[in-house]
Amino acid sequence: MNAIEIRNLTKNFGQKQALAGLNMTVPQGAIYGFIGENGSGKSTTEKLICGLLVPSGGEIKLFGKDYKDAGVREKIGVLIEQPGCFPNYSVWNNMMLQAANLEIPNAAEEVRKVLKVVHMEGSASNKYKNCSLGMKQRIGIAFALLGNPSLLILDEPINGLDADGMRIMRDVLVDVTKNYNCTVVISSHILGELEKIATHYGIVRGGKMIKEMTAEELEADCRTYVALQTKDMEKTQALLSRKYANVTLENDYIRIYDDVKAEEVVSYLYNELCILVTEVKTEKISLEEYYIDLMKEGR
């Protein structure tokens, strides 16, 4: 069974169409990286899943049931934009209110547990308004984790987090999916971080899903290339372009995307062109590069 199944979802804000027949499938237990440019419809989709917006058309199913099903909705943890906290209340009181909303037995114990997970147990008595951006993000994650949710929806949860916060975040998400059968939908512009944990990806553009794939499919899709540096980069690039079809100069490296081994290139340059290679490596294009390429294709 899929955790989320969305078919032909549309959402109009007056004359503006935010979602134009979006389809989305999130398998249970997945960490689903939801990627797209600003205004592509990520947050709108997430808000629709959470029932915070009313769809103009289409169907949303959560765990095989209608998204309005009260039983399913009680098991959603959410962090969209800012955590919904009262600024004049302490972190603890805010958490206890949400625990009461969720009717969590042993609320104090549960709140203590989730605050410990995000390393915020020492700041529980702080007023929410006095917390830093990073602390607020951690509180938001703790909020979302309250009550052992089956589905976590996190919109830009890494924003404002320091390196330690990002590591905690990664560990928590991997832990909840592995040990608690939780499904995570996470949208972020920090693709490097997303790449470390996501098992599935959905790329959205102009309110439509343009690609959905697993991490393995992405891995297969991401081309390998040989990157090298010489003393005269432009001349080398020109000479290599005569032999190889896909040669580019990117980020201070000459990249050869053809199916070729690094040793072959080095040997060719040295033996036949008398060019000494100062640095050579074989790499795969990252999610970020893959995403940028995909976006360029559509333009």
């Binding site: 917006l53 049931k65 009260a70 209340y89 949400q98 009461a100 009550g147 089956s150």
Partner: protein, 258 residues
């Protein structure tokens, strides 16, 4: 394996009430409102008495000649534009609207509504809970005003004599007025759900709607009220609460919550 159980309405309402009561009484708002309601009649009665020390002069100016005028007027007096009609307990209906609007707008402004409505697809428990909690808050404000009026009257040296009505009438009048707050609470709640985080809009619309009903209040809850007045106000309050509660529920279900 994920299991999704459904909870009964009463169980949900109970948890919602726990949260809302906790919120209401941990916020400074209710204490400020109760304080204002307590101080207001003291200031009004003492200051207006100072304005006209002679009883005849006071009457000519339309100021208070009796403590109970701060609570209401006898049947048939109607709504006049003098001080006793404008500056009595009926002003509190507008303060009740302010209380409800701030309480509701705070939910949407802070993002708390986002957390709440994600995990609660049915909005009826939210509407019921908010109505009940705000009604209790409004009752506290009315009681604070009543106590303030008694203290203010004593300080100002105004007579506590009852002419044309008895102690039972005063109690029935107070009960009627308290039950009538349910009407204003449900109006403000309904407008609060429409305006969401736009507090100014909900307050403005609540005041406008309140003005339409304001002139009816002295007629329905005079100082010589009886059982019929109490029942009428209770029924009216209940009907408005149910009717406008259903409208609020519909608005929350059919409109965007963020």
């Amino acid at each position: 394996m994920n299991t999704f159980g459904k909870k009964s309405f009463l169980r949900k309402l109970k948890s919602m009430l726990t949260v809302d009561f906790k919120r209401m009484f941990t916020m400074p708002l209710i204490y400020i409102m109760a304080g204002v309601c307590f101080a207001m009649p003291i200031l009004i009665l003492v200051m207006t008495t100072m304005m006209g020390d002679a009883e005849e002069g006071a009457e000519a100016m339309g100021t208070f000649t009796n403590v109970w005028q701060a609570i209401g007027s006898v049947s048939g007096a109607g709504m006049s534009m003098d001080l006793t009609s404008m500056c009595n307990i009926n002003m509190l209906y507008f303060l009740v609207a302010v209380l409800v609007c701030i309480f509701v707008a705070d939910d949407f402004k802070s993002g708390y509504a986002k957390n709440l409505f994600t995990v609660r697809s049915k909005k009826v428990d939210y509407v019921c809970s908010k109505s009940l909690v705000c009604f209790v808050g409004a009752t506290i404000m009315f009681v604070a005003y009543f106590i303030g009026a008694m203290i203010g009257g004593a300080i100002a040296g105004l007579p506590f004599t009852t002419e044309g009505f008895g102690a039972g009438g005063v109690i029935a009048c107070m009960l009627s007025k308290i039950f009538m707050t349910a009407i204003f609470v449900s109006i403000a709640l309904c407008l609060g759900t429409v305006a969401k985080q736009k507090l100014w809009l909900s307050i403005l619309c609540s005041f406008a709607a309140g003005m339409l009903l304001f002139t009816m209040i002295p007629m329905i809850s005079p100082l010589d009220s009886g059982f019929v007045n109490v029942v009428m106000c209770l029924a009216g309050g209940g009907l408005f609460a149910v009717g406008l509660g259903a409208v609020s529920n519909l608005i929350l279900n059919k409109t965007s919550l963020v």
